[in-house]
Symmetry: C2
Subunit: 571 residues, 2 copies
């Protein structure tokens, strides 16, 4: 590509409304432009990256045996009513009527459409397993679109869906997709981790997220220092460490006037927060026709409740809902001064986090306003119903696989694989005939990659103060050639043209910067747009038989021979 015929839409200033670095750099590098809130036009510089990402995704999906299909963006509401999601999905599902007043949605995902296709096209167990993917535009009506294409309303997804006779077959395809995803993100040149994930509202039984590691990530990922264990903090198990020591202190009631938080109480009593427990009163599960009972949760003072873990407990309401002031008052308790003493006796279910359960001689509320108890001990002073994993892991916790300890990093979710089970196939009646001639409901998996989001996440992981630093596989151009003072020196231009032709013939994606601009402008443009290799052709180099080369991560350029140059840019 000749730069004079390309759209360089680089910006010198950082746009005001771009909060994250990828959004800033995608605007500044002339990759995207905002059309409206959460809607972006991809400029030529951006489309080149997008196409390379898509090509790698498609190649690996094809290689893994998934068959490409293309489903409509617009979907009839009736299918979403069948699955129950027309109501469930909430306002992110954009609903509209066509000219005949029929109800439609703009698809944020395609489980309903593919399951409808499968129930019509798949007749026999012989056609299973089946695995279909598409690369397609999706729409999610985010209430507050932000971070550019990272959380936009219109975006491109690779979504795949598989159909199986049984769990074993699903697990096999799931594992193949796991491997394909690892190949995809490796080929994209990203530092990523597959992590165990919660199955969330979509339902189902097994799930991994693929995260690109970047300090700007929205998710906390827990890793082992010694093994390949990785899980979303939402999911990471906090294992039980140690045993409870025998009581060594008497229980004492102390005045703690106006000291309600763990921090306040610990400071006031000159105690370690890790040597105290905090109470969280939440709604339990109501029996039919009854109001929900209150459930008391106790965690160590320095730990945080993991709501997703709590919601999975059969006695706790999901979504997690805190007890009302009225409920607490009715129990005769005061917020800020609640301890476990006597609660089981009052008929409450008391669930204690593993770490809190091995404390002895700890501080807790005294169940009396402005008073705490010290030297509290389980069983002697306070009963509990059950010990349960209720908290978020923290750095230094032992890894659940027994190898090393936990460290926590931030990640950007770019992929998600999911064992859906029969959620959609049951709702839509997707059955095939089994070996015995009887129809059975198929088991499903789904597998997504946020194609547009991958582009932004690659930048979040690869940039410096000068701009983007692309992994070579997805750079808009691999090599840029800059002739110096080409207008005065035909010899320079000639040499640049010759190298341009040679490298193109050798299969490189080359940009010849033949623009009528100062070298400083060109260098700055090439840096901000993140082109991996820059070659400057000047009179001096031509005399000396060398090329001025600078890799995008290099501090200085070097003068090297043609052979050395070819070695530098070799793939």
């Amino acid at each position: 590509m000749r730069a004079s015929r390309f759209l360089f839409a680089t910006l010198r200033e950082t746009p005001n409304d771009a909060e994250v670095i990828s959004h800033q750099l995608m605007l500044r590098a002339g990759m995207i432009r905002k059309l409206a809130s959460g809607l972006y036009t991809w400029l030529p510089m951006g489309v080149r990256v997008l196409n390379k990402v898509e090509a790698i995704v498609r190649e690996e999906m094809d290689r893994a045996g998934s068959l490409q299909v293309l489903m409509p963006v617009t979907q009839p509401a009736s299918l979403w009513e069948e699955s129950g999601r027309y109501v469930q999905y909430g306002p992110e599902l954009l609903r509209f009527k066509d000219r005949h007043s029929n109800d439609f949605v703009l698809g944020p995902t395609h489980e309903e459409v593919i399951t409808d296709l499968a129930r019509n096209e798949l007749k026999s167990y012989k056609q299973l397993p089946a695995n279909f993917y598409q690369v397609q535009t999706k729409f999610r009506d985010e209430i507050r679109p932000r971070f550019g294409v990272m959380r936009s309303r219109e975006f491109i997804m690779k979504d795949a869906y598989s159909f199986h006779a049984d769990q074993e077959s699903l697990q096999q395809t799931y594992d193949e997709m796991y491997d394909a995803y690892c190949r995809i993100f490796t080929r994209l040149g990203l530092n990523f981790r597959p992590v165990q994930a919660d199955t969330g509202s979509i339902g189902g039984s097994g799930s991994h997220e693929f995260h690109v590691l970047a300090s700007s990530g929205e998710d906390d990922i827990a890793f082992s220092t010694e093994s390949d264990y990785a899980a979303n903090v939402e999911m990471a198990e906090a294992v039980l460490v140690g045993e409870r020591a025998a009581p060594s202190q008497e229980l004492k009631i102390v005045d703690t006037p106006n000291q309600k938080t763990i921090a306040d109480v610990s400071a006031f009593l000159n105690a370690d927060p890790a040597q105290s427990v905090k109470a969280l009163l939440v709604q339990g599960v109501a029996e039919e026709g009854q109001t929900a009972p209150v459930v008391a949760l106790f965690l160590r003072g320095d730990h945080e409740l993991n709501e997703i873990k709590a919601e999975k407990h059969p006695l706790i309401a999901s979504p997690l809902t805190f007890a009302t002031e009225a409920q607490i008052a009715e129990l005769g308790l005061t917020v800020g001064y609640i301890g476990p003493q006597g609660l089981v006796e009052k008929g409450l279910t008391v669930i204690v986090d593993r770490a809190a359960s091995v404390l002895s001689d700890f501080v807790a509320g005294a169940n009396e306003a402005d008073k705490h108890a010290t030297g509290v001990n389980w069983e002697r002073d306070a009963q509990f119903t059950e010990v349960y994993d209720l908290r978020n892991v923290v750095e230094g916790d032992p890894s659940p696989d027994g190898k090393g300890t936990i460290q926590i990093k931030r990640g950007i979710e770019v992929g998600h694989i999911f064992q859906l089970g029969k959620k959609y196939s049951e709702a839509l009646g997707c059955k095939v005939l089994g070996k015995d001639g009887k129809p059975f409901t198929v088991t499903m998996g789904c597998y997504g990659i946020g194609v547009t989001r991958v582009v932004a996440s690659a930048i979040e992981q690869n940039f410096d103060e000068k701009g983007i630093i692309w992994p070579e596989a997805i750079a808009p151009f691999e090599v840029a050639i800059v002739p110096m003072n080409a207008h005065k020196s035909p010899r320079t231009l000639e040499a640049a043209e010759a190298l341009y032709a040679e490298l193109q013939a050798a299969g490189y994606d080359v940009l010849l910067d033949d623009r009528d601009e100062r070298p400083g402008v060109k260098f700055s443009d090439l840096e901000i747009t993140g082109i991996p290799h820059r070659i400057v052709i000047g009179e001096k180099g031509l005399d000396a038989g060398t090329f001025e080369y600078k890799g995008r991560r290099d501090a200085e350029s070097i003068n090297i021979s043609k052979d050395e140059l070819l070695a530098k840019i070799a793939k």
Copy 2:
């Protein structure tokens, strides 16, 4: 691809609701399935064709120097209000509100969005010409979607838009796009014609349509028998032939009771319709504050009015509107009995078609109920204001370029290139700085290809009673290999596998039909899906060292050597 791992969704029966052959065969070949009215899912067999079409379109657009972009499917209504099309476009423009009650549309086309981009990104004449394209999903809320993907609501378009300093630059890019389109449709293997077209409601000054010739086409295309002249019948000029002979008959008034149509009158008078004129009274252009005058058009009795030509006449209202009964009565005329005699004297503008203007001794209405005139002659008996090209060409007319005569064939419009001029750049204020430092409004062109429609049109042009016959460039697979009785003969399967590996390595898109099906089922599937080359591997052939080969258009298979086989399938 192994057929056992592919989705063969062929149907034996022709679906009831498919009217045209491409729709029938796309369903029967398992290429598409209907999701809702005008919405189709593309199955793996269809996507393979779609991908090949898209790749050729993209390669040639890139080669022609157009830069790929990607604009959103959803567009803010405000841009459509700026261009005036929010109201003009009618109910085919799907309008909806997002969760914040802002107005949006689903894009049927992207002139507004690209002009908005250009007015923000293009600053100087130095950046012109600029040419951007995308391959993208469009939505048009057709009142009655039909013919499968030929006239669907959601479809894929390649749309390109160019920006220029002047008409000369526009013409140059237009010509380059014309050439690129010829290369695209040639590479796709289609019998097509670029034809001069009307610029329609989109406005502008120059336009060509690209038509795939097929008897099921919706458009009539006029060709020269001797040259490459081709135009949509809407546009084809009907040239003046011959000169008017001197009058040889007296004007006579004859009774023609209840004979109002040309057919009736001609039969009643035993005259040739080509020797009569028919009148059409239409609305003229009103002066400010006045009601529109009536304009009288006269054509030869056997010719048809071309409304598009008539609308271009400066004295005729556009859109063409017929005079009301009240207006006709006020002129003292009776429908069915109107002749040109005395109309100019009544103050009417009388416009005569070229062919009607060279008649002498003709039949016309007598401007009196139940009476016609014979032996009418222009100038002696009837005056006219002007001679004008008002009619549709018919087969046998001379070609307007002076070479050969006109023949008319049916075509399917698959591409359209268009000189937009300043319609959108003026409406949206798209200006750049000129050499003189002053801003000027840019001139635009637009260039579309219906990617999904190309697939259907290729079938309309290439099929037989057994199914589709793909041009090789867009066939889902180029070669199919069928091992006979593979389950009984490991030798056959082995030979098939070896040939499969060899042809794949040589770059062919090969299907190995390893399904557990009868040969008849396989052959029928390969025929309906239109795979160009079929190779059957059987015991006999293996003994004889030959392969059973059948091209999709061949009546019979032949046994040939490996070298002959490779020659047959060579690209």
